[in-house]
Symmetry: C3
Subunit: 204 residues, 3 copies
């Protein structure tokens, strides 16, 4: 539990960095705007999951450490702004690690509230991607899930892997780390080979 | 109850088709994007209603059949894509039938939670139109309720008719089918004669 | 309590006027569109606060007087449309008074649900600005909090002032009116001297 808590705080801080960097590319917002977007990006996915499940209080409402993790993340992204932008590859790895972790944590949380596996997989994927969707809606962008190479689909695949492993009684650590590895692998392969899902219609 | 359940599943599947067709016109999304938009379009209105009322669990969270209805709807809209686009008139009829049905179901559900009639009418209208509003916000369109000919207003009128009939003790079937007919009639007349509500200001 | 209730109703009606005027500048919507936007602008912030806290029923769901206040506000903004647009300075004062009042009421409500002060301050600020954010997202504008001179930050400062005064046992009225004065003062000074927060990055 302790480890999961630290991972969640780290993930939250990292998502704030990710939100700050993305927000800054386009609209050159002020400090408040960047912090607000970082906040929405990091807590949006989990909040939507819990509000859909009716699970209260929300994690960050109960525990202000998540707010502090976000503020620290924003501070770091200001101090190391240029280095962070240069480290694009590392950044991509961290972002993928972040969504992978949030997917599995979210799927697990949903299962604890006795929903069916198909709903748990959706909730896991929502935990990972909805923060980014809110960020994009607020900054008038086309949401990431509609433009990126295989992104939310990788989360769905990881959530399903988690549920299968859990169903067949695999070890707790295997349930956690195999799906995270799978999401990472799908993301890396998709970006490296520029793969994307087939279009819905062919006449495009 | 059984009939209402089947109608809700059918309505959900149909809204997914409607969402998929609309989504596809503009942004040519991949399969995941189309499914996601179909999902948001069909469950968005009811979810917003229940989250505003604090009624948990949400219908589709409790019952994965709604997810399967959406997936079947998306599958059908891929297979019959060209035919569906050709059937614009039929399509318009189905869409109007869909919002009419969702309005009445939503108004009834809100009344079961002992809100005042004015709130029940708003909740009925939200059930019908908010899925489309979410869809439009996510795809960066001006929401349907701001551009279309008499749309949400028809739902409001239907909800009010339902509440009046119910208040004066009309038969259950009359309470259901007269308002659905009214919404259909308003929509058909509005589109046929290109009617719209007066603008808020005159100097436009 | 009676005074706070009347202030809330007045604030709600005024926010509806504000929403109607802003909505009208761009998209020239019809009567339904204006009413819908006025509605979202006035009840959006408080609803998001209560949905994040899990506090049900929402104020306007329980008490339709808030709906009537909005309808009256929209009616007044239609009748006095030209006068209202001319009174820009008065309008700015009313808008600032509105967000100041909503901030303090929101912060107080959050404290009543035993959240930590940092969360209460965020909830107070959300109460004041999230209605405008929803309005801007729905009308495809860049949300007000990303473009305006010091706006949400003034609310945050007011919320913190409220929490400090309350913590040190200041008189109820002082807790209420000093922060409202502070928010007003920050807004007036910021607009008069065209002040804004520093940009997040310097190379812009």
């Amino acid at each position: 539990m302790q480890v999961q808590y630290i991972l969640e705080l780290l993930g939250t801080g990292f998502f704030a960095i990710s939100g700050a960097l993305v927000a800054n590319q386009k609209s050159k917002p002020d400090w408040f705007g960047v912090t607000f977007i970082g906040f929405i990006t990091s807590i949006g996915g989990g909040s939507i999951r819990d509000m859909l499940l009716g699970v209260y209080p929300l994690v960050w409402v109960k525990d202000p450490n998540f707010i502090y993790a976000i503020i620290i993340g924003i501070g770091l992204s200001s101090i190391f702004f240029k280095s962070l932008l240069k480290l694009r590859k590392t950044f991509f790895l961290f972002d993928s690690l972040g969504i992978a972790m949030f997917t599995i944590i979210g799927t697990e949380k949903a299962m604890q509230h006795h929903v069916s596996p198909v709903i748990a997989a959706i909730m896991g994927m929502f935990s990972a991607v909805m923060g980014g969707v809110l960020r994009d809606v607020l900054t008038n962008e086309v949401p990431v899930i509609f433009r990126k190479e295989i992104y939310a689909t990788a989360c769905l695949a990881g959530a399903i892997a988690y549920l299968l492993l859990d169903h067949f009684g695999a070890d707790k650590n295997i349930c956690m780390f195999v799906p995270i590895g799978l999401i990472l692998a799908i993301r890396i392969v998709a970006v490296k080979f520029d793969l994307s899902l087939p279009k819905f219609t062919k006449e495009a």
